[in-house]
Symmetry: C2
Subunit: 237 residues, 2 copies
DNA sequence: TTTACTTATTCGCGTTGTGAACATAAGTAA
DNA sequence: TTACTTATGTTCACAACGCGAATAAGTAAA
């Protein structure tokens, strides 16, 4: 207690300070499966492993600002749903030095995801599968599970679970869709994140009863059968 | 991108680093209302204001370890449900210097709460009320709302909302109760956190159907009317 | 010993949400 | 015009839930 009071008043400049970084989990749902953008490491540690894009937090920069800056720098995206996920602070999580990492995830519609990959060729798309009770697996399209650097596999697991948990009671799914979308596309997002198949009429009823969807009167185009109506997300009701 | 790769490889020792602290939200439900332990600040900034107990994270100490160490140092408690809440990283949140704070909350049964206060006289109990859409108010028993230091009011708000959100789908409520408890006591915890009154038979049915409760066969004592059965929390079923 | 009293616990009913099967509608392409 | 495919709507059974009331089980006072 006296010790605690002492620490409270002590000049913290005397302590050695950890570095603080932000790691970005750039997520989307592509072809019916959750996906994330990773970069291949060309240096030790974890050379050849796959890592989340990230960077250090500036001394005059808030955590949220750092996340948005990295989003722009790494993926050239200005607008996305960004949310702080969790802070990872194990002592040995980076073998080089003490780095505390604040993980953020950004939800990106599949179309913007593809555009971001064109602008940032060092980013690779990996599909995620969440083993029940186990770690996540990330793999390139038709590839073996990737070796993830640092504790980034753990970060992806936390992100997937957070996404699942918030799916039904928050409008988080709409951040993964373009502005106008069909109910089928919305259901595909739900099924990809929850990794289950859902009953179509029941899903439709639940979504419409929630009052978040506004019909636009427009129809999807390009289908060789009856086109579905396009809806818009209307948060406040 | 080149810039990003540069930053990635750059020696972060060259950057000025923020300090990293842990702040503890020691919560309980006392007399039917959420409560938290605060300390009065005797120095600037926020002299005379009320703050959460906290301290800096050691360079060789994980965030979780720091939280548990502070729990022992500040409240003399070894076992409690401890969970990382959120990381607050606004640049000006501490006017003296850049400090990033990782907030943890600990859930403590009312009886252990009272014991902790005896062992740590600098801690004061404040009752929390969460205004819908507004900030939380913390007040001493029969007192005016307290002036909270730093962004600690915001932290309390996030903690209350997290608690509410996790209440129904996690066994978090049982961390606020002694090992054996009555259904009425459990319902009191729910009503305090959700700030609503609940239907008693329906609550009872829901809880028992969930399969988390094991009857002990014992009865509560000291009541001048029919004593209720004591239950135990049995997580895995 | 009996009675009053208070709360725990259970019961029954109407309402609501949900899953499944099925019927209908609306487009394209042959 | 017809076949085909998917969107959209309807119906029904069933489970969950809120609510009120009835019953049970203790203590304390008469």
């Amino acid at each position: 207690m006296d010790q605690a009071a002492f620490l409270e008043s002590y000049d913290p400049a005397a302590f050695e300070r950890p570095s603080v970084a932000v790691d970005l989990i750039l997520m989307s749902v592509v072809d019916g499966a959750p996906a994330v953008l990773l970069t291949r490491r060309d240096q030790h540690p974890f050379q050849g492993g796959w890592a989340l894009p990230g960077g250090f937090v500036g001394i005059g920069e808030s955590l949220d600002d750092a996340a948005h800056r990295l989003l722009a720098e790494k993926a050239h995206m200005a607008d996305a749903y960004v949310e702080q996920l969790y802070t990872f602070g194990a002592v040995e999580r980076d073998p080089r030095m003490r780095i505390i990492s604040v993980a953020y995830f950004a939800l990106i519609p599949a179309c913007a995801f593809a555009a971001a990959m064109k602008g940032a060729p060092e980013l690779a798309l990996a599909r995620l599968t969440l083993q029940p009770g186990g770690p996540v697996e990330a793999r390139l399209p038709e590839g073996e599970p990737l070796a993830l650097a640092f504790d980034h596999g753990e970060m992806l697991g936390v992100a997937m679970l957070r996404l699942r948990g918030k799916l039904d009671y928050s409008g988080i799914a709409f951040a993964l869709l373009p502005e106008r979308f069909t109910l089928r596309a919305l259901q595909d997002v739900y099924e990809a994140i929850l990794d289950t198949s859902l009953n179509k009429p029941a899903f439709r009823r639940r979504m419409l009863d929630r009052g978040w969807l506004a019909p636009t009167g427009e129809r999807e185009t390009g289908a060789s059968f009856r086109p579905a109506e396009l809806y818009r997300y209307q948060p406040s009701r």
